[in-house]
Symmetry: C2
Subunit: 358 residues, 2 copies
């Protein structure tokens, strides 16, 4: 299952979007509930099944979703659940054992709808680079089309009703995954994260809570979705992301001006280890790939030296995901123990990052 | 001063001696005092000067020392003092500021006599590999020739008299510098060091006390020189060294059998870092060189891959010393701050260890 995703050239991982050297990806999701059923956590097993049935009949009528996959989560293997999580197509909560869960995912993986997660529908659009507008355009269209076919739970004063109060209103959460190695290396990041929390933005890591700073990735999202319009929420996040991008650029200039040699040392060591290790964990690999990515952005390492003539940004971005545990197992086509994964991860990295001159 | 030593092909660093893959070097020294003067620490300034004069007149008559350098330590710059220390030609004590100190050193650096260190004469022979017999043959000849010309302090019951009681008797200390990375990696080393201490052997690091385990080097020497003949002391040490060599070989086999992949990982990472770093400290470099050396011994890395067609053992052994702070400054011909040294050390290592295919 999902093997075709491994070679998906059009996915949000292609590294081709705007500002893709700092903004890894952009994502917007809407929480929606059918007004005729209780929220998922309060729905009986049969009701959850009915919700799943309902959306399975609706999605093929939505223009953007015509050719999407519809999957009952009960039929997904543990490995594939992890695989979907690594591709950011489902949440951790969605791969728990609760019955009646489903997933609708477009062939290019840009659109994914979780059915019976916390809300009946969690609809997301995820795109490469800094492209919240692009995400919203698609998501708004899908939401409009669905709204014409069904009645979503909506209160005149509150707006869309959701299982958790933080999502009430627009039901919208927008986020950007930012790669901020220079802010980490210059030790400016903590002050910035504190400031963001004060102005109601949430920071998470590459794979949600508890993974912060892994590979120097920070997912920034709005904390509340009430009291502002969808456009305003997106614009607010865009403003914050723009500021973070310029602060990261500033930190990168500082690295080049004040810490040139130690930055070169960090970058070249990262490449040296990626090219030579025989066992490497996901987190260590992510951190080295982050530094390698920084080195390419700063011109310390030439892309052709690392990847030959190929498109470096695209390949590098894909590596951040390819080396994840479930991805390795999908690539190998079998379950692997941790040490086996560390071995294969190292082999793949050596192969992908081998000397361009060879 | 001493620039010629940098290209000394015949020195004890050439890595060509017996068992040189584990026994880096062998050394024997004799402590001797002229009976007509008080021990150095009790001698007046004029007396120390007289001792220095006396040996300066004697050494050219000794066959092995005819072409040696005679140096007054007062005329040696701080950098050169450190350089001599790094080449194991003087002790830390000998480069303190006390006046009247001298050094006689043969052109191949195998023989070195410190004058007015703790004893009037500290005569050492140091050779590459496991070759205590070779050291003793030369040192015994020098001692014999000198004994015919002068009268050394000697007590009928105690033997040779020395400033410190631990040297009384033969005045002999024999030592071997062992490279024991596998005993360190398999965590067997501590038990072995405890055992050695119990049977009166002293363990130090590459540069004397306090440097233990740096680069996985251990200097093993006899603790007392009284009650046994020179031959017996040397044979005792040889026995211990032989045991350590076979334990290290056993540990290396264990690494290959039980920890093959993680050992390969350790070795290749070490080479990867040595080939890519832009700043590297002495101790980090020593530890990586140690692993690289192990990797060559175990056949994990082919010598031709690292050094082209050159003699790998010789080059690798020389690197352990070449990257030391004073050596770097001698090579560059000027004083260097710590960060400058780290930068040049990294550049030299990249150059020396560059891909053999290039």
């Amino acid at each position: 299952m999902f093997e075709e995703f491994l070679n998906n050239q059009d996915s949000w991982l292609n590294g081709r979007g705007p500002s893709a050297e700092i903004v890894f990806s952009s994502r917007i999701r809407l929480a929606r509930n059918f007004d005729e059923y209780p929220f998922t956590s309060r729905a009986a097993s049969q009701q959850r099944e009915a919700i799943l049935q309902k959306i399975s009949g609706l999605y093929p009528k939505v223009r953007r979703l015509k050719k999407s996959l519809f999957i009952s989560m009960e039929k997904v293997s543990d490995l594939d659940k992890q695989f979907l999580l690594e591709r950011h197509l489902v949440s951790q909560e969605h791969i728990s054992t609760l019955k009646g869960k489903g997933l609708i995912v477009s062939g290019d993986e840009n659109v994914a709808i979780m059915v019976n997660e916390e809300d009946h529908l969690r609809m997301q659009v995820i795109m490469s680079g800094f492209n919240l507008e692009g995400c919203w355009e698609i998501l708004d269209e899908i939401d409009d089309e669905l709204s014409k076919m069904v009645s979503f739970a909506f209160g005149a004063s509150l707006g869309y009703l959701t299982a958790c109060p933080t999502n009430v209103g627009t039901g919208l959460r927008a986020s950007c995954m930012l790669h901020l190695p220079a802010l980490v290396l210059t030790k400016r990041i903590n002050k910035i994260l504190e400031l963001l929390a004060k102005v109601s933005f949430t920071t998470r890591g590459l794979f949600g809570e508890g993974t912060q700073a892994l590979g120097n990735f920070f997912q920034i999202s709005n904390q509340v979705s009430l009291g502002l319009s969808e456009r305003e929420l997106i614009e607010n996040l865009s403003g914050v992301v723009n500021q973070l991008v310029s602060q990261e650029i500033d930190a990168r200039n500082t690295l080049l001006k004040k810490y040139k040699i130690s930055t070169e040392d960090n970058v070249w060591r990262a490449l040296g280890i990626l090219r030579s290790s025989r066992l490497i964990s996901t987190s260590e690999a992510l951190n080295h790939l982050s530094l390698l990515s920084l080195g390419l952005d700063l011109g310390i390492i030439k892309g052709t030296c690392v990847f030959g003539s190929k498109q470096t940004r695209e390949l590098l971005n894909s590596l951040f995901i390819l080396i994840q545990p479930a991805h390795l197992q999908k690539i190998e086509g079998k379950a692997l123990k941790e040490e086996e994964r560390d071995y294969i991860r190292a082999a793949i990295l050596r192969e992908k990052l081998r000397d361009g001159r060879e």
